[in-house]
């Protein structure tokens, strides 16, 4: 083994470009660009600015929930209960406003607090009781959905005041209002993950939780935080969804967790924990949404669309594995 004096020098520009091209995000971005180009060539309605903005409106809910999901999966956990928290938030919003007579502002805040608590309960049991995340959130997936159904009693709440629809149905500066929220949230989430000790701790926990704890990292506190954050974002997404579709029903968000997890994993976050990034997740969310939209606009039926998305997911995981092996993060 030839030994070279180690240097504190950062990577050269050339190395940085190579690193980007060979990163999961780079590959995914390439796939996305190719997909957009191909779909644009095939479909006139697809390539309109209006369509892209509308797709931005539709993907916001999944995008918001995917941010904390990225954190959670990086630590080696999972949160299956986000779809149920989403539905529970919607129901509580409508119920407290319509049936309990809360002012709408207070109803919104109440529902978001309930969502955060629902997420925190997941985190508390996972950390303090040691329930595996998969089991805990599978249980609350049923529990929270059951609560939503019990409260809603198959009724739906409608007839919100006009200002309520600003968030879900209107634009701000020519862009769907909720898309601004996603953009800001994604930037903050990306910076926290990539640039702060908290973000670094998530990678350490996902790669080796024991070593993280032995290094003085508050492992339990950080894990509870991200599950609570997941609850809050699922709640926020639920609120935006109600504003977008003008009604609340207890089955809202059913299956949301699978779309979110698919986007996160497509974005290069390893389901085993330890790697992943917010930009990757956002590209994953966009790619899935544009594939769904573009394929349907080019006349591909819904069933075939799902097949294409599944194929893209598998391909991207193969590419990810290849890259991981190259970088030596996985043992051969």
């Amino acid at each position: 083994m030839t030994v070279i004096e180690a240097s504190s020098q950062a990577l050269s520009l050339n190395q940085r470009i190579r690193a980007l091209v060979f990163s999961q995000e780079g590959v995914l971005l390439l796939i996305t660009i190719v997909a957009v180009a191909a779909l644009s060539a095939l479909s006139e309605p697809f390539r309109s600015v209006e369509n892209f903005l509308n797709q931005g409106r539709l993907l916001t809910e999944i995008g918001l929930v995917a941010l904390p999901m990225t954190y959670i999966i990086i630590t080696g956990g999972i949160d299956l209960s986000v779809g149920s928290i989403f539905g529970l938030t919607a129901v509580i919003l409508g119920y407290t406003w319509q049936n309990l007579g809360f002012p709408l502002e207070l109803a919104i805040i109440t529902s978001l607090i309930v969502a955060t608590i629902a997420g925190f309960i997941n985190g508390w049991f996972i950390v303090r009781v040691g329930v595996p995340p998969l089991i805990m959130t599978l249980a609350t997936l049923a529990l929270y959905r059951g609560l939503a159904e019990g409260i809603a009693q198959a009724r739906s709440a409608r007839g919100y005041p006009d200002w309520f629809y600003q968030l879900g149905q209107r634009d701000l500066l020519g862009v769907p209002t909720q898309l601004w929220i996603l953009i800001v949230a994604a930037i903050i989430a990306a910076i926290i993950l990539a640039r702060t000790p908290f973000g670094r701790s998530l990678y350490a926990i996902g790669n080796n939780e024991t070593a993280a704890r032995f290094s003085g990292i508050p492992v339990g506190r950080n894990k509870m935080l991200i599950y609570a954050f997941s609850g809050l974002m699922a709640g926020l997404a639920g609120y935006i969804f109600v504003s977008r579709v003008s009604t609340t029903r207890s089955d809202m968000g059913t299956g949301l967790e699978l779309d979110v997890i698919a986007a996160v994993v497509l974005g290069g976050t390893s389901i085993f924990g330890g790697t992943g990034s917010v930009p990757g997740t956002i590209i994953g969310v966009i790619l899935i949404q544009l594939l769904k939209n573009g394929l349907s606009l080019t006349g591909v039926t819904g069933d075939s669309t799902i097949v294409v998305i599944g194929t893209v997911l598998i391909l991207s995981i193969l590419v990810n594995n290849f890259i991981q092996r190259r970088s030596g993060r996985m043992s051969s």
């Binding site: 083994m1 030839t2 030994v3 070279i4 180690a6 240097s7 504190s8 020098q9 950062a10 990577l11 910076i191 640039r195 702060t196 000790p197 670094r200 701790s201 990678y203 350490a204 790669n207 080796n208 024991t210 070593a211 993280a212 704890r213 032995f214 290094s215 003085g216 990292i217 508050p218 330890g274 970088s327 030596g328 993060r329 043992s331």
Partner: protein, 517 residues
Amino acid sequence: MGTPILELQNISKQFPGVKALDDVHFEMQAGEVHALLGENGAGKSTLIKIISGVYKPDTGVIKLEGQPVQFNNPHEAQAHGIATIYQELSLYPELTVAENIFMGHSPHRRIGPFNVVDWRKMFEQAREILDSLNIHDLDVRRKLSTLSVGNRQRVEIAKALSQNARILIMDEPTAALTEADVVRLFDIVRLLRERGVGIIYISHRLHEVFELADRVTVLRDGQYVDTKLVKDTTEDDLVSMMVGRTIDNLFPKLEAEIGKPVLEVRNLERKPMTRGVSFTLRAGEIVGVAGLVGSGRSELAQTIFGITPPDSGEILVDGQPVTINSPAAAMNHGIAYVPEDRGTQGLVRQMRLRENISMAILRTLTQQGFINRKAEAELAARSIKQLNIRAYSVDQVANKLSGGNQQKVVVGKWLASQPRILIMDEPTRGIDVGAKAEIHRLMSELAQQGLAILMISSELPEILGMSDRILVMREGKIVAEFDRSEATQERIAAAMMSAAAPNNANGVPQPAAMQEA
């Protein structure tokens, strides 16, 4: 000598950024125990992975009994009679001994159109193989998870023989064994040698090489150094061949001024393994903690460091009582802990060197809450320099470093926290002699600068060589204390095992390293 059973010529292997093996030769006769020596990172593991078909060499020839062969995967190597017993055993804990031995090639019989496992034959044949190894006390129907490590290893050897192995590679087989198990293992190795099996034996324990091996090949930095008859060489020769220089002193203990007490522990309790421990640690002092595996040494360290906070008792830092209920609290009081198991407790191996070294103090390397990457890289570079870590860059993934260098990274991480109390748990376990001497020198220098060091070790020479005072633990208590001047191996060993230790049939358990002196 006849045609060698195994011959490797001009083997080279390059990994990205590393020349792991450079023109290496190796040759072994049937019925020979051939030791393979070298520091961590010298290329031993790469070489045995090439022999066992895990890696393909970039250049060079492998010959089995004179015939050139090529292995595309481990199965092909196995088919040629090459079996490997790795450090981490590759057995199935939930299956029986016999099933493990015949995993993948169990005897079959036909019932109508079905091919089914012939259980009776499998148990009989497993019994025969074990008998042929003079192992008569192992029930082939027992689940593996109920066996001791030594017995599991015997199963692994039996498994290799069931595949008609002619070449057996043993990678640090004694690392986790008790003395009684080591003796039995050596008996088996000698038995296999008589039967004409060629055995490649890798160990960091030189006395084992002299006890067991016929010849020894030494690698250094991926290059072939020499092959010698064991009877024509000495320990000092081998060490200087391995490190490329003579190590004048493995235990460079320097005079340090011993100051005020910095850590006082009074009646510390944490059930079940820490039971009323009291001691004092002074600035500039190295206190060694000896004891058998399971005597509660690591548990004590982890209680002081807040991983398992105490149930009762007092910890005083600089004479002030402190509450330590988490590692973060311990760090705030200037305590650092280099844990016993660097793979699972010390390092995040998938992460970069820079990220590992900064891990414990990352919050101090921030500007407005953001990680200051420049400061982080500089810290890592300073550590690399101070500890002489052999790495290509601060961005290297820790996994790619050799064991000794990984250990230095863990030490670097904790020195970065600028502790005043450093607890080191087995600081040199499983690392090569060169890195060992470097870590010992560093400890001495740190003590000279006024650091208080509590060193847990299972190696009595290390305890004797480095400590100012020695505490002996047994069953969660401190049972004896010796000054440096009055300590001897015999006295410490006696205190470690004395009256309370049951004299069972397998003999008194002994610290693995005692025989190394």
